[in-house]
Symmetry: C2
Subunit: 447 residues, 2 copies
Amino acid sequence: MTIFSDNLAKMREHALSIFQAGLKAVEPGAAIRRYCRPEGETLFIKNIPYDLSRFRKLFLIGAGKASAPMAKALEDMVGEKIAGGIVNVKYGHVDELRRVRLSEGGHPVPDENGEKGAQAIYNLVKQARKDDLILCVISGGGSALLPLPFRGITLKDKQDTANVLLACGATIHEINAIRKHMSVLKGGGLAQAAAPAALVSLILSDVVGDDTDVIASGPTVPDTSTFRDCLAILEKYKIADRVPASVLRHIREGRAGNVPETPKKGARIFDNTQNVIIGNNADAIIAAKQKAETLGYTSLILSSMIEGETKHIAKVHSAIAREVLKTGHPVPAPACILSGGETTVTITGKGLGGRNQEFALWAASDIAGRENIVVFSGGTDGNDGPTDAAGAVADNCTVERARAIGVEPVQFLSNNDSYHFFEKLGDLLITGPTNTNVMDIRIMLVV
Amino acid sequence: MTIFSDNLAKMREHALSIFQAGLKAVEPGAAIRRYCRPEGETLFIKNIPYDLSRFRKLFLIGAGKASAPMAKALEDMVGEKIAGGIVNVKYGHVDELRRVRLSEGGHPVPDENGEKGAQAIYNLVKQARKDDLILCVISGGGSALLPLPFRGITLKDKQDTANVLLACGATIHEINAIRKHMSVLKGGGLAQAAAPAALVSLILSDVVGDDTDVIASGPTVPDTSTFRDCLAILEKYKIADRVPASVLRHIREGRAGNVPETPKKGARIFDNTQNVIIGNNADAIIAAKQKAETLGYTSLILSSMIEGETKHIAKVHSAIAREVLKTGHPVPAPACILSGGETTVTITGKGLGGRNQEFALWAASDIAGRENIVVFSGGTDGNDGPTDAAGAVADNCTVERARAIGVEPVQFLSNNDSYHFFEKLGDLLITGPTNTNVMDIRIMLVV
């Protein structure tokens, strides 16, 4: 058996170029340009015309890891119209803007600089008038980058609360409910502060299903949770005496009606608010599919919304690869099967890795010794788990190559140590920060 | 919202008829007829001609839950040529045969009658000569229905050994290795007893990937495991002192070379043996796909080899349904997504259910409240887990209908009680025994 055939080497190159085509489609500037188009005095956003001459002032705000290039693309289109703006970004995620100030802050742990930036955005939108237009750019990480807790609650209180919730096994929806009720800007708070000005939020989605109330904790989107829910969550997990006193007090006051609820669907403050998804995982994998087709692969998108335990998701993918080889279903070889979304890993070991690397390693085990199959999995933000890799690439010879150098896949899998497995094989995908984030892209080539 | 729209009712009917089309393709007689064709004195098996006039005698043997109708179909083709035969079937799984004796025995727990039948088959093939032809029909359950332990080992010893192996967490491959080394007929033993007669084994596959050495413990297939492996397994799980003394003694004697190994690949005894898969899950879902297409659905087979934890497999399926609705990938609506194989359920509750019913319930939760989606999952043998149902059907309104009668899906899921959930809704799939078994068929219709 050829340990590393020319064919596999070429397929690996193809997989990388297919991934890069996906990334390119969701580069934040490209995403903005796909949905926004200036024409004279008019800015078309998803074909809805905004006649900028009808507004007194145009502001540009936002938050998120990809928000600097999003703001840059808008500034390039309508820069001379922008009266001012502030966009909160992660340290180092900057760009050269002329009209808009980029304010750097901590991520994923929010810090004082983030709070200063959030306060500045709040102050800016509070002065906006009914005849003003606010463009808002939102992307993943926008929640940590818009930290403005209610009076009496500190950033540390918020962080402590999040830690208690994580430790007790609360769901992400429960955590978000409480997070939104501690914060001035989350859960529709930013839209509330901006009203009655017109607000258009351009959102790069990093969540499965593109739920706008989840992305960056939905600062411009009606909230579905209530103070009542928050109190029920504290009771459900019996953690009322473990969250900071300031948080418990705020939630109880809210439940008693002494603090206003987060704004809900149908509230007047949303009358002038539009939320527009301008980039998501589907955009990336559709572009990846087009690239795969130009390379000669019969291509199929399974879903951009794949969730679940990585091991089992890998099993499904390898079952599909084996079916391609056996019966030519779901598509005949040479085939490219694409999927997106974000899987989870239940960690039981002490190794280093991420969901993409672990996916590649499980798949490698499932396809070992079969015909030519390449499996590629990468995070579009260039960041897979707590590693400097975005993901990894594997093929039907990976297990054999590993064993030839004394590396046993099962041991690395059981220790959740996919990073060191692929490091030893030279098969890590290292991209560095990509400045975008629409979750993961998985590519499977079967020849 | 319509609780149970006309559209959904029609889609449910469609799902059932698609399932039935799949079943029909793997009805054991139909499967035999697809691959076997008599022409004058010649029997074509997968287009290989067997000139029956060249053989002194023709025997027909076999074992498995579907083996009676398989034998019947062959008898209908070449009955007057058959000199005699014995086929071991499960109690009640009988048919009217003229030349072949059906011997009933215990399944899934083998019993004395099964052993008598196995001994009779052994005696029959031992008398066969080089110029004889033995046709052998094998299907799922054939392992329990061919119980012939080596001298000194009782059926109870075998059963006790299986229980110890299951309890210690041994893999199915490890259990099979030991099972084959305790048995005269498994792991190629039947082929060995039949040599030097010509032997053609016609196999209905009930295992993922159709590995012939796994189906019915591969009575006519070279074994890949050794006595050395068996001893290593006992040591690995530290169970040498927990398996019956007779079994330990046999394995040690085998390891010492005092008992012959199971026959291996390349052994002369296989020179006149052919193993032919005459029906499998892929056959069923390909036929199901054809039916779905005649009903107007754009249809796609994911894979006939889906394994993994049911909950996560359901997540993947519902993610695909949602993608169909959102972007028209992998195929546009009206879409039929098909998959096969056999998933697992890690049981933590005390309820009643099976992998197909649990699949339908997880999927129901994932698709609740969305557009028209019907999810149908059924075992082709008519038997899902320890229930009288083959599976269940669910749709996007299932959760709402359940709550309307005070039935909370999450409670039934956490108690692994999918049977009672669907019983209350009247959504169980009850087929009774189908006399075939090619694992499960999952059908998802999205309109």
